[in-house]
Symmetry: C2
Subunit: 357 residues, 2 copies
C-alpha cells in the first residue's frame, strides 16, 4: 500500500530531524516546521498510523517517535533528498586526496583513512580482484645456487614473483623450455579454466623441468583465485562519539562485530550491479548490528580490479550526505587510476615463498 503524500512528508521530516538530533521527535516539533500546515494533533494522528504501519517506533509512551528500520529503508529508497556537495567540500576532498595519495605504496589503507576522516565515521577499504584475471606472461630467471625466480605478469599489468628452490639440478635451457611451454599454454586463462588436464599436459611438455610444474601451477592458481586483499579498517573510535554508543555494552558489541563479521562478510553482500549500496540496520551482515548501517561503494582500479570503500555508522546516519561524499570519493579514485593507466595498485596480495617451495 502506497503512503499518502502527507504521510511521506511527515515521515521524511521525522527521519531528517532524528538524524540530526538523535532525539525522539515530537508531533509538536514537526507541526512547528515552516511548511507544515497542520496542527500537532493532526500530525499525531498521522504518526500513530505510521507507527501501526511499522515505519515508526515509540521508545515509551511519553516520548516522541523514532524511525524503524522499515522507516529508514523507505527513507533511503524514496524520501531522502539528494545532498549536493558544496565546493568547499569537494575542494577539501580533492586536497586531502592529493596530499595522501602520494604515499602510493599504501593506497588502500590511505583510502580507508581518508574516507573515515571525511565522513567522521569508521571506514573500511579493500581491493578485489575480478574473476577475469589471467596471466599475460611468464619469466623464469635462474638465480644463484639452486633456485630461480618465477616472474608472472598478470592481465591487470601487476607483476608477481616467487623465489623457488630447485629440487634437482637444472640448466638455463631447461628453464627456458619450461618458460616457453608456460607462455604457450597457461596464459590468457582465467582461474576456472585451469584444469588438471592442463596440468598434466604442461608437465608432459616440460622436459627436465617437469618436477617444477606443480609448484608453478599452484602459485598461478593462488594468484588468480585470490579475490580480495587485506581489508583495512580505521576510525572505529569515531563511533563512540555517536550517542547510540554511549552505552558501553552496545559499543563493545558493535566494535567486536566490526572486527570480525563485517570485514569478512561485507564483500559478499556487495551486489554486482549497483555501485553504491546501503544496508540498513537488520539487513546487515551481522545480527549484532541491528542499529548499525553500512554504506559502501565500488571504484575501478584498472583492468580486472575493483576497490571497495565503505563506512559503518549508526542506523541514524546522514545517508544523503554520506552517500554523496562516498560516491564523489569513488569517482575521483576511479579517475585517478584511469589517468595513471598502469594500474597503480599492486602488492595488495603479498607474494610469498612457501616453506615447501
Amino acid at each position: 500500500m502506497e503512503l499518502s503524500d502527507r504521510k511521506k512528508k511527515i515521515l521524511r521530516a521525522i527521519v531528517d530531524l532524528y538524524i540530526r538530533t538523535a532525539e525522539p521527535v515530537a508531533s509538536k516539533t514537526i507541526a512547528q516546521m515552516p511548511d507544515m500546515d497542520f496542527s500537532s494533533a493532526t500530525i499525531r494522528n498521522e504518526m500513530a498510523e505510521l507507527t501501526t504501519l511499522g515505519y515508526l517506533e515509540q521508545p515509551h509512551t511519553s516520548a516522541g517517535r523514532i524511525p524503524s528500520p522499515a522507516g529508514y529503508r523507505l527513507y533511503v529508497d524514496e524520501l531522502m533528498q539528494d545532498y549536493r556537495l558544496s565546493t568547499d567540500e569537494t575542494k577539501s576532498i580533492n586536497q586531502a586526496m592529493e596530499l595522501k595519495m602520494q604515499e602510493v605504496d599504501k593506497v588502500v589503507s590511505q583510502v580507508g583513512k581518508l574516507v573515515s576522516q571525511m565522513t567522521n565515521l569508521p571506514a573500511y577499504a579493500m581491493a578485489a580482484r575480478s574473476a577475469r584475471l589471467t596471466v599475460k606472461r611468464f619469466d623464469l630467471i635462474l638465480a644463484d645456487s639452486g633456485s630461480f625466480i618465477l616472474v608472472v605478469m598478470l592481465s591487470d599489468s601487476s607483476v608477481k614473483n616467487k623465489l623457488i628452490r630447485l629440487p634437482v639440478e637444472l640448466t638455463e635451457a631447461d628453464l627456458k623450455l619450461l618458460g616457453a611451454v608456460l607462455n604457450a599454454s597457461v596464459t590468457e586463462l582465467t582461474a576456472e579454466q585451469l584444469s588438471p588436464e592442463l596440468l598434466s599436459r604442461v608437465t608432459r611438455s616440460a622436459g627436465n623441468a617437469a618436477s617444477l610444474v606443480p609448484v608453478v601451477m599452484e602459485f598461478v592458481t593462488s594468484l588468480l583465485h585470490q579475490e580480495r586483499g587485506e581489508v583495512y579498517m580505521t576510525g572505529q573510535a569515531k563511533l563512540l562519539g555517536q550517542p547510540e554508543y554511549h552505552d558501553i555494552d552496545k559499543a563493545q558489541k558493535m566494535l567486536s562485530a566490526l572486527d570480525e563479521d563485517v570485514v569478512s562478510n561485507l564483500p559478499a553482500a556487495l551486489s554486482p550491479d549497483s555501485r553504491t549500496q546501503i544496508l540498513v540496520g537488520p539487513e546487515n551482515v551481522s545480527k549484532e548490528l541491528r542499529d548499525t548501517s553500512v554504506v559502501m561503494t565500488k571504484f575501478d582500479i584498472g583492468d580486472g580490479m575493483q576497490g571497495l570503500i565503505g563506512v559503518v555508522g549508526p542506523t541514524r546516519m546522514d545517508y544523503a550526505q554520506i552517500t554523496a561524499r562516498l560516491s564523489y570519493f569513488a569517482e575521483n579514485l576511479s579517475r585517478m587510476f584511469q589517468k595513471n593507466q598502469t594500474p597503480a595498485i599492486e602488492g595488495l596480495e603479498n607474494k610469498h615463498n612457501d616453506p615447501e617451495a
Copy 2:
C-alpha cells in the same frame, strides 16, 4: 632510598590485587591474605608511607589505595613474579599459530590478530627492515611494447619488481648492458652508500640505457630506505571491556590516540637493545594515554628484518602474564621464520608502478 622488604611485599600484594580487581585495595583486604602476619592497622601505616613516597595513590579519603605510575614501574622492574605459561596455554598458542599462519600472505596482520586474541587486548604488528639491507641482484626483462620489468632481489631474499616504461626504443642488448652495470656497481650497497657520485658513474657506463638509470636508482633507493611497512592494529574493542574505559570519553580519547599516535610513534620508542619493553602510563608516547600502558617485543624474520608485536592496555594490566605470552609468541615466530629459511615475509611494502615511470 630502598624500600623495606615489608613495604615491597605489601606493594606487590596491592598491585597484584588491583590488577585482578580494578578496585582500590583496602588495608583490611591485604591483612587477611594468607601470609600477611600483620594487622590491618600496621598495613595502614605502611600504606600511608608508600603513599607519601609516591608509590600509591588514593582516589579519595575513604577509598583504598591504587598503584601510582611509579608504583607500577617498581612493580614491573623488581616486584612482579615471573608468570609461567601452563602447558595448556602453550599448546593453544601453538595450535592457533599453526592454524593461522597458513594464510602466509598475510602473516603480519595475522600475527596481530593472534596476539590480540591471546592477550584479550588490542594488539599491533609490523615488520621493520634493517638499515643493513642491500640489493643482491638485478634482472631486467623486456616485456611487450615499450616497457620492461625490473626485478630486484634483496639481501633478505625477498624479490621486488616494477614495470617501467621505456622513454626511448631500446634493444635487448641495451638492457643486458644496463643489467650488467647495475649488478657490478650497485649490489651489496646499503642505502647510505648510494651516492650521487655512484649514480653518475652508473649513468656513464649504461650506454643507450642511460636515461633509465634515474628511474631504476630511485626505485632501489625507495626499497632500501623503506624501513617499516604497514602497521596493523586490531582488537580495539577489547579495551572497552576493561573497567577503566567504562567512561566513554576516556575510551574515545584512548581509541583515537591508538589510531594516530601509537601507530606512528611506537616504533621510535623501541630501544635497540632490549627485546621486550614495557612502557607504563605516562612514559608512553602520547600524553592522552596516562592510564594506558604498552608492552612490545621484537622477533626476527630473517636477515635484515625484524618484526614488532605489542599490545596496548590499561596501566592496570597483568604485565607478568602479558609479557610471558608475548615473549613466547615472539620466540615461536622467530623460530618459524628461521626454519623456513627463505624469509617468509615479503610484500610488506607494496611494489608499485609510479605514474611517471
